[in-house]
């Protein structure tokens, strides 16, 4: 079994204190994870030994850097059950999702320029791309009400620009995708963009059922694997999704790098998003031909040191074993759920049990605003997230303006969860609520 107590020592930051000497209890891994020494070392070693631009230049350093860059691609592909040429580096998951949405947009613009006899746009977007990815009025894009803004706003924009209609899967009162509303996936659906797990409730999506429905109607499936990739085994080929996005920084890797997964034949046809150096074949003053994927989508000088760090991160997680990671975090989820249930006046948002969920728990403290909850926890050294966590619609659906959220990582211990729960009791006391539900002298806020 994975031992978080010894594992903590791998993460230098977790040894620091905050707010006047309090040991840090970091429960904000859902926002970004802390980094183990091997990841920090990998980035350092790259800068100290091999730094050079990749896929350019003939010198030894350029060769070494390029090799490191491509070996990392193979490692990350392997980690998520993909082939090497199906992984595109992006700056984060947000960029990966925008890359796909803009592929559809550029194909749609080229196709409509052609039908209206417009300019040379059609020469840069292949006929195959236009056929595959063109959206127009009457087409539908389906998302869910649980999406992070990163997997909602780009699709909203795409719909607005192409005339397509955005529809969404609704949620149950527990915050899970409501199967009763899966029927929004219909013959007009061209894209189903869905989160693998909610970053608010931790609820894990039944991807297989949604993929089956999407296949029935010939829609592409885009999976936001941001929360899952770091916390459970993810096999993108087995899930049979068409595109997927994730960020290294949530997977104990560096900031500044993420990845887009796309099935090879789909990436072949997808028009580029960002254009410029490193992604072109022949450039004249009139036109340009583009490289095959993944280079087609990696314009400009790349974040090589971070890519190298990303490899170290997936190797670190693989060495722990993602099954072990998932089992450990399920235990932490259960401890958090049970602990919260014992604090008077605190309500768990989302699923009330630990089945099919990650160790991400959002909660509401009666009569105390989440920002104030976070402030008191912070004064005790406990770091949680407060606000809407970039997911306003799900909060609206759950009937709250904002929430506080605790989320675990590989290094979270039972003692961390205990400190958090003790802090929650303290929050209530501080704002004048006795342990019984009745407000005491200080008076509620």
């Amino acid at each position: 079994m994975l031992n978080p107590d010894t594992l903590k020592a791998d993460f230098p930051l977790l040894g620091r204190t905050v707010r006047g000497g309090k040991p840090l209890v970091y429960l904000d891994s859902g926002a970004t994870a802390q980094k183990p020494q091997p990841v920090i070392d990998a980035e350092l070693a790259f800068y100290a030994q091999s730094n050079a631009a990749v896929h350019r230049g003939a010198h030894q350093l350029a060769e070494e850097a390029t090799e490191a860059y491509e070996l990392a691609r193979a490692a990350v592909a392997n980690f998520v059950g993909a082939a090497e040429d199906e992984i595109v580096w992006t700056k984060n998951a947000t960029e990966a999702l925008n890359l796909v949405a803009h592929g559809f947009l550029n194909a749609s613009l080229a196709a409509s320029a052609k039908t209206t006899g417009g300019g040379p746009a059609s020469t840069v977007v292949s006929d195959a791309a236009q056929q595959r990815y063109r959206l127009q009025a009457g087409d539908e894009i389906v998302v869910s009400e649980a999406e992070h803004h990163a997997n909602l706003v780009p699709w909203q924009q795409l719909a607005a620009k192409t005339g397509a209609t955005l529809r969404w899967i609704g949620l149950t009162d527990e915050g899970r995708l409501d199967p009763e509303t899966y029927s929004v996936i219909g013959p007009r659906t061209r894209i189903l963009a869905i989160t693998h797990a909610s970053n608010v409730t931790g609820a894990i999506t039944d991807v297989a059922e949604l993929v089956r429905r999407a296949r029935d109607v010939g829609a592409y499936v885009v999976l936001d694997a941001c929360q899952t990739a770091a916390h459970m085994p993810v096999d993108l080929h087995a899930l049979d999704v068409d595109f997927a996005a994730f960020s290294a920084h949530k997977m104990v890797g560096p900031t500044g790098v993420g990845a887009l997964f796309g099935k090879r034949e789909l990436l072949e046809d997808l028009p580029p998003f960002l254009t410029g150096g490193s992604m072109v074949e022949v450039v004249t003053m009139e036109s340009t031909s583009f490289m095959p994927p993944p280079q087609r989508f990696e314009a400009g000088t790349q974040m090589v040191a971070q890519v190298v760090g990303f490899r170290a991160a997936v190797e670190y997680l693989s060495a722990l074993g993602m099954d072990q990671v998932a089992a450990h975090e399920a235990e932490m989820a259960q401890l958090m759920i049970d602990g919260i249930a014992d604090v008077p006046g605190v309500r768990l948002l989302g699923p009330q049990d630990s089945a099919d969920r990650l160790a991400v728990v959002a909660f509401e403290v009666e009569s105390v605003h989440p920002h104030d909850v976070g402030q008191v926890l912070d004064s005790l050294g406990v770091a949680v997230r407060v606000g809407h966590h970039c997911a306003q619609p799900i909060h609206r659906r759950l009937g709250v303006h904002a929430s506080a959220r605790a989320s675990a990582g590989v290094y979270t211990t039972a003692a961390d969860v205990e400190a958090f729960i003790a802090g929650l009791h303290e929050v209530r006391r501080f704002f004048g609520f006795a342990e019984s539900a009745a407000p005491a002298a200080r008076g509620g806020v």
């Binding site: 309090k22 920002h371 402030q375 008191v376 004064s379 606000g387 704002f431 008076g443 806020v445």
Partner: protein, 152 residues
């Protein structure tokens, strides 16, 4: 923790957050402002009505939701500016902004005294993420007053 938290959440702040002054919708108004703090979702809609000469704040009402700091700040601000000259309200707003920029240092006695209950927010300025909460109402006031002064 007790000390740091009690310095931040002064009793004045807790009291105002609970018994909020000026909360409510104003039916007749010359200026209105909606302000949002996107990091935590706090929001406020604030309306003001000036007198005929557009020199004095005759009525002020606000609605919204937010943390205790933003709510208390709105409430304290209401008490400070109601029935005051627009120029005075602007001056107090400047003092409060200075207080928020002071990283927890006190202002000179004259300005502190002018700020009255609002001086209880001195400790808020030590927490960069909370400064926006405390300023939410003052931003709305500045905006609504500007409208009320130029309005038809």
């Amino acid at each position: 923790m007790a000390d740091a938290m009690e310095q931040l959440y002064q009793q004045v702040i807790l009291d105002h957050a609970r018994a909020r002054q000026g909360e409510g919708e104003l039916a007749e108004y010359g200026g209105e402002s909606f302000q949002l703090n996107p990091t935590c979702g706090d929001q406020v809609t604030l309306r003001v009505q000036l007198d005929e000469d557009r020199e004095t704040i005759q009525a002020l009402g606000w609605t919204g939701q937010g943390c205790s700091i933003s709510q208390a700040s709105l409430s304290v601000m209401y008490e400070l500016v109601i029935e005051q000259k627009v120029t005075r309200a602007a001056e107090l707003g400047e003092h409060f902004r200075e207080l928020m920029a002071a990283r927890g240092q006190e202002l000179d006695p004259a300005r502190l005294e002018a700020l009255d209950d609002a001086s209880a927010f001195t400790g808020v300025a030590r927490y960069p993420a909370r400064i926006k909460c405390a300023l939410l109402g003052w931003m709305a006031l500045r905006d609504a007053l500007a409208q009320a002064q130029v309005g038809a």
